[in-house]
């Protein structure tokens, strides 16, 4: 039986329930938030501390084939950053590509309890689930890559939107996925031939379709299926100067598909597609333009992909971009194309303050966060590990909360970059409430996770308590205290159990894996499945039966049923 | 007395020794490693037809293969895969383990191909079974 808990007397930040730093108690029973508990409940004394829902990371590459390729590529990344086994925890290594156990513990220590892996080649989804199942404590889910999928492109080219929807539903089921991920739509297929495709209206070789049609088509599919999350898009042209225009164009290409205030598109790691300028020499920030667009349009949510200076590993499904980065940096390079579906690349990278481009990138991410007015449209990410390892979140938060902290970095970065950036002129500072939005409430909302990101009755009892008194500490001035407190939570509570105390894991558990079962009409699914059966052997080198992942393959599946419009 | 460890030069024919997978080795290991079939398929040294003639060795005859690292008796056979001159091939197995160079040079991988070796006809010597071979080099 699970015990009852009271998180007592903390300053609670629970934006989804309109609670902004009120001193109050949070009650927990059987792993859920309740409105009262018995007198025997254990007490987590939190007076003088911040209490927030557990963190929800919308976009972090923690599991799967490309992450693991990165681990194998970089023993030098792990050598000096390791964790010794304890009675409770398994050993492991960091740094930018931590082993699965270490990743789970490190998230939990920072008060994060839910993490979504955003790039899964459907053919290799089993691998992702194996790793997610070896990632302790946090709840998780993964996004299958569909923006270069042959069947998707063919259905959309032929205008068969409903069939496409049924196929996407089939993929979600077959891969136990959560949301539609699009990476460099059409561009990765072109990369299969070593070609680059940059613009929204370029044609994908052999497929007679454009990126614009793929994004729009999948956006419609997503709506037809009533998927909990929007399409999650990594745009074309990532990593090229001037790409902020592609970002805005991509946002705008689904504007008419919006209904009400519900977002229709999530653009991910916008920093990497927020470049203004025409070359690396005059690279600038496109953040003002992008934020301006987002401020005027409610159909968009974004996440930052903020960079932090230092050594990390870049990894995306965007094969051509990773090749570009390899050519630019001279660093070692992994490419991994996946038949009929997608690709991937991995390149180690060191962001330097003295480097003009890196310094501009640093500024772009922060400008996006600070110029976008509505924090509910912004999710904090570093696109782990692309911009920085997720363990840098406390540092990123301190930059958002303190212009002084930003100024200190600005003083040290490349001078020309400083001149190009708008950041020195921005004095906005995030409040704790806004931080709670961009790290948990807003991300949970964007993912439509009803039981996450808030502390209302019925929510999962995933709670982070930080030893920081918001009445006494001014985060603007004392940003170091913020960093220190966020790095190691005083308590992280997962499903109603204290699993981390002052940065030490005191109990380990295995979280669940969400997946979406989008039910379409039986006739439609039947007909699409039989079409698939015909094509499967022509497209794939595995049998259709062996491609499908049964629910029992997952250690702790959590199925989300949605009934589609088709 | 020389042990199996030291290897010994017998004034045999100098050759390059390759080891590797073969279809027969693959099939026979699945039939059981204590089987006669396994010995037949794996305790083998393959030669070029030209080399067999030049060395006056006939297929089926026993030969001793020696390197700086050890020495083992196996059966001579004609290679179906054409070998370069004065090069012999042995399929992977415990018999090759005796003669390969264990040195890894800091890579973890011993030196299993392209070894300097000597072969000589060994008509009166017996090919050891797996059990006998293991007993000989491992003492168990």
């Amino acid at each position: 039986m699970r015990e009852e808990l009271i998180v007592r007397n903390g300053f609670v930040f629970d934006p989804l329930n309109g609670i902004d730093g009120e001193k109050m108690d949070v009650f927990i029973k059987d792993g859920k938030i309740v409105d009262k508990v018995g007198s025997k409940a254990s007490v987590v004394e939190s007076s003088g501390m911040i209490v927030m829902p557990g963190g929800v990371d919308i976009h972090s590459h923690i599991a799967g084939s490309k992450v693991n390729s990165g681990r194998v590529l970089r023993p030098e990344d792990h050598e000096k950053d390791y964790e010794v086994k304890t009675q409770i925890t398994r050993s492991g290594v960091g740094h930018s590509i931590p082993s699965t156990y270490t990743a789970g513990y490190r998230y939990a220590r920072m008060g994060y309890t839910t993490v979504f892996e955003p790039a899964v080649p459907p053919l290799k989804a089993r691998h992702t689930h194996e790793e997610l199942d070896a990632t302790p404590i946090v709840d998780k889910a993964c996004f299958p890559l569909l923006g270069n999928n042959w069947l998707v492109m063919e259905y959309l080219r032929d205008g068969k939107i409903e069939e496409c929807a049924a196929y996407v539903a089939w993929v979600m089921n077959a891969t136990k996925g959560y949301a539609v991920k699009i990476v460099d739509p059409g561009g990765v297929e072109a990369w299969g031939w070593g070609q680059h495709l940059r613009r929204l209206d370029d044609r994908v070789p052999h497929f007679e379709i454009t990126p614009r049609e793929i994004v729009r088509g999948l956006c419609k599919v997503n709506r037809l299926l009533r998927m909990p999350h929007t399409i999650h898009v990594h745009t074309n042209n990532l990593g090229f100067p001037g790409n902020y225009e592609t970002t805005i164009e991509t946002m705008d290409c689904v504007r008419d598909l919006a209904s009400g205030d519900r977002p229709t598109i999530h653009i991910t790691h916008v920093q990497f597609t927020g470049f203004a300028g025409t070359s690396w020499l005059n690279l600038g920030s496109g953040a003002p333009e992008i934020s301006n667009y987002v401020n005027k349009h409610s159909h968009v949510t974004i996440d930052l992909g903020q960079i932090a200076f230092g050594d990390t590993t870049t990894m995306t499904a965007d094969g051509p971009f990773q090749y570009l980065l390899h050519k630019l940096s001279g660093n070692k390079w992994i490419n991994a194309d996946v038949e009929a579906e997608t690709g991937a690349g991995v390149v180690p990278f060191h962001y330097k303050k003295s480097n003009y481009v890196n310094a501009v990138q640093w500024g772009i991410g922060l400008e996006l966060a600070l110029l976008t007015k509505n924090p509910w449209q912004v999710c904090l990410t570093t696109d782990h590990p692309n911009g920085a390892p997720f363990t840098e979140y406390p540092r990123v938060i301190s930059w958002l909360m303190s212009s002084k902290a930003r100024a200190r970095v600005l003083a040290k970065i490349n001078k020309n970059a400083r001149r190009r950036l708008h950041l020195p002129g921005i004095d906005r500072e995030y409040t704790f409430n806004e931080i709670a939005v961009v790290t948990r409430a807003g991300t949970a909302k964007a993912l439509n996770l009803k039981e996450k990101g808030h502390l209302g009755v019925g929510a999962d009892a995933d709670i982070a308590v930080f030893n920081l008194n918001p009445k006494e500490v001014d985060p603007s001035k004392n940003y170091r205290a913020v960093r220190k407190a966020l790095k190691k939570s005083a308590y992280t509570i997962k499903d109603g159990r204290i699993i981390s105390r002052n940065g030490e894991i005191v109990e380990s558990s295995m979280g669940k894996t969400y997946w979406v079962n989008a039910k379409t009409s039986e006739d439609l699914m039947e007909s699409v499945t039989s079409q698939l059966r015909e094509k499967f052997e022509d497209y794939y080198t595995v049998q259709m039966e062996n491609y499908i992942i049964g629910e029992s393959f997952l250690k702790a599946p959590s199925r989300i049923e949605v009934s589609s419009e088709v | 007395m020389k042990t199996v460890w030291e290897g010994y030069s017998m004034g045999g024919i100098k050759v390059k020794l390759l080891t590797g997978r073969s279809l027969d080795q693959g099939k026979s290991k699945e039939r059981g490693k204590l089987s006669e079939d396994y010995v037949k398929c794996v305790a083998v040294c393959e030669f070029n037809k030209e080399d067999l003639e030049a060395f006056k060795i006939s297929p089926g005859q026993n030969v001793r293969v020696s390197t700086d690292f050890g020495s083992v008796v196996v059966r001579a056979a004609a290679s179906t895969q054409q070998l370069p001159k004065a090069t012999v091939f042995m399929p992977y197995g415990p018999w090759t383990g005796i003669v390969v160079n264990p040195e890894t040079h800091g890579t973890g991988m011993p030196s299993l191909k392209g070894l300097e070796a000597e072969v000589s006809a060994a008509p009166s010597e017996k090919i050891l079974s797996l059990k006998e071979l293991v007993k000989q080099f491992a003492g168990r």
Binding site: R74, P75, E76, D77 | H105, G106
Partner: protein, 285 residues
Amino acid sequence: MKELVLKARRVPNVPAEALVVSPNFIAGKSVEEICAAEVWEGNRRIALREVFDVEGETAKVAEEQAVKVIGEAGKVRKLGYQMSSGLITVDGNAGMYLGEEMKGGTITVNGNAGSWVGTKMGGGTIEVKGNAGDFVGSSYRGSRLGMKNGLIVIHGNAGNEVGCWMRGGTIRVKGNSGQFPGMHMSDGTIFVEGDCGGRAGAQMTGGRVIVVGRLLTVLSSFSFEELRGSVKVGEDKVGGPFYLFTGDVCENGVGRLFVGVNRNPHLEWYKRFIETPGDGLCRLV
């Protein structure tokens, strides 16, 4: 200088690791503290006194500290780890990773040393009177940060990949070296006085590899430049003549490979590029 003597009590049968055998650790501590210092024997944490008898004195600062290891320490790894000054003398063999990440000071081994001598070294001197294993002065796996500075002298032979990903400093092998001296190196000097197992300078981008003795072949990714009468290594002028090659072309490298003419008659064909008067090539060099 004050000397602390460590006498090996027994030879461990599993790998032992003694990061504490370094002037930096020892200086400023009592002999009692040193005796109790942590050493790993396989998966067991033990005290230094279990493997070494400790005698002598400790100095206040590392500069004043000499450490002498007597007996068989061939299984004891990482002697002199990260040391920045002082002296270590090993009367016997030293285990792997001798002087790893060393920054200064001197290590002398009067026997053989295992592989990875002076890996990631940033300064100081290591002298091995016997042979050394593979990867002398190299980087860690996957890293491009090999030896940066300092001097390593191997009086006997060295194994493969001497100076792998080396970035500076000097490695001198008085005996023979294995294959791939100067693999991926970008700067510094590797001087092999004996023969080389081959593939010298492979994939180098800069720096110098000098092979006085026999080198079977020169990779086709090296282009012949000219004959040199001698080459300077530190203060020494080493007599040649040498063939001078540059490469590795495939890495856009500007490394220089010197190969002794006398011991390598099979490379004589390169001379055709300089010896024929009237041949256009001669003007190129």
